[in-house]
Structure formats: structure tokens, C-alpha cells
């Protein structure tokens, strides 16, 4: 089973759609309500970053079902300005927009796996995974 949904992000309505799609897929995969909310919250932060810093991009949510586990994989991509100091952007409280600086580090805490590829002029790709407990 491999299911994927793609949500373009170019307005605040798309942030809501992206996190709802993530929640739906997580529900389908049998994640608990708590984990559905966790996944939705992480998507909300990452999708908002796309809108805020890159203006547009996309969030894909994929159901991953291997022999031994089920998970949700979220990939958020944009062709925006990129991040010059990724390590710093992952620290609590670091924000270039006067925000709380909790989006990236918070999403990382919420998910089981978190990877970010970004460089100035290269755009940003965030990949996050959450595995279902006790299959």
C-alpha cells in the first residue's frame, strides 16, 4: 500500500488543507488521535514556513507501509530563498521574522524523523516521518 496526496501551498487556506490531508492519511493508517494531531501540527508549522519565507511550495504526505511498520512521510518543498544557517534555524527561539522560532525545532520534536536540506538560493526541503506505535 502506498498512498500519496499533494497539497500546493500558496495561501493560508492551503496550510489548513495540508494539515487536514495529513490527519486523514494518518487516521487511515490507524494512528491514534493524539498522533494524528501531532502530525497535523508539524505539517501546519512547516507549511506556514513555506508560505511565509518562500511564498509558495508544496507538501506531500505519503503512507509508507513496509513489512514491519506503517508510517506517514511528509515532504515539504519550496524553491524559496533557502536557509543559510540550518543548525541555527533548528534552535528554539531563532527567528528571522519576529516569530517564536519554534516551528522547525517544534516539528522536529513532534515527529520521529526529521531532515532538512536547504541552502541560500536552493530552496528548502523538509522531510519528516512518524511511525505508528505497536503495529
Amino acid at each position: 500500500m502506498r498512498e500519496e496526496t499533494l497539497q500546493p501551498v500558496s495561501s493560508d487556506v492551503d496550510i489548513v488543507s495540508a494539515r487536514q490531508k495529513g490527519r486523514e492519511l494518518a487516521a487511515k493508517a490507524g494512528f491514534s488521535e493524539g498522533d494524528q494531531t501531532v502530525i497535523a501540527a508539524a505539517i501546519s508549522e512547516i507549511a506556514r514556513n513555506i508560505l511565509m519565507y518562500a511564498k509558495r511550495g508544496e507538501v506531500s504526505v505519503t503512507l509508507a507501509n513496509s513489512e514491519d511498520r506503517i508510517g506517514v512521510i511528509v515532504v515539504a518543498r519550496d524553491q524559496g530563498p533557502g536557509i543559510s544557517d540550518v543548525a541555527r534555524a533548528l534552535q528554539d527561539g531563532y527567528s528571522t521574522s519576529g516569530g517564536l522560532g519554534l516551528g522547525l525545532p517544534g516539528a522536529r520534536r513532534l515527529m520521529d524523523e526529521f531532515e532538512i536540506h536547504s541552502a541560500p538560493g536552493q530552496g528548502t526541503t523538509v522531510t519528516m516521518k512518524k511511525w505508528r506505535r505497536s503495529a
Partner: protein
């Protein structure tokens, strides 16, 4: 989607009915700050039971609502944060420091009753 705001006695009650966009949340903030003055409200309840997620933007806006309405003389209490939502908020590192919260609408009203009684009857 606009959030309906009801007046009950000295209090305003905003019950969020569904997931809100950032624009909806900002609109709620402006509406509450204006209406506290117009209707001379002493307390505000924001019922977030129906919110699917509280992310950094939602928390920041709720904090702004509480602080702005307080500057206008009204106390705000946030009610109905669901257990899963609370869990995700804490993991994200989000707090509602300095903002009153209560379990549900009933508890929120009880809180505002006590709070405003103290403030307005002592004077």
C-alpha cells in the same frame, strides 16, 4: 470562516466552529478587541474546542487577544483545549503564559464571574 461572537451579560463568547486559517484568527483578534470597547465587556471567553490544531500562529494570536483585551479592561479565558491538542502544543514548546485557561465553557464562565466580581466590587 468568521467566528461568531455572542454577548452574555458582561461577557463576550467567541466559539470557534471549525479549523481556522491565519486570516480567520487575525480577524477574530480585531473583532474581539473592537467589541470589548463597543459592548463594554468585562470578560471574554474563546472556546477552542473545535480547533483541530494549535500551532505557533494560533497560540500567538490567542496570547495577543488576551493581552490586547486586558489592555481594554477585559479578562480573557481560553476554554476547551483538547487533550491531544495540549500534548502537541507542549511538544512544540508553545505556552499560554499569562493567559487564563479553563476546562470548558462552564468553568470559563465561573472563572470570569469570580474574577470580575473581585475587580469591580472592590472598587
Amino acid at each position: 470562516m468568521e467566528v461568531p461572537i455572542l454577548k452574555q451579560g458582561h461577557f463576550l463568547i467567541a466559539s470557534i466552529q471549525s479549523a481556522l486559517t491565519d486570516a480567520d484568527l487575525s480577524q477574530l483578534r480585531e473583532a474581539l478587541v473592537l467589541r470589548v470597547g463597543k459592548l463594554r465587556a468585562r470578560g471574554v471567553i474563546v472556546d477552542v474546542t473545535a480547533l483541530d490544531v494549535m500551532d505557533s500562529f494560533a497560540v500567538r494570536t490567542l496570547r495577543d487577544i488576551a493581552h490586547m483585551t486586558r489592555l481594554r479592561g477585559a479578562e480573557t479565558v481560553i476554554v476547551g483545549i483538547q487533550p491531544e491538542v495540549a500534548f502537541a502544543m507542549v511538544q512544540l514548546g508553545l505556552t499560554l503564559k499569562g493567559v487564563a485557561t479553563a476546562l470548558d465553557l462552564e468553568e470559563g464562565l465561573a472563572f470570569l464571574d469570580r474574577f470580575t466580581k473581585e475587580r469591580f466590587e472592590r472598587a
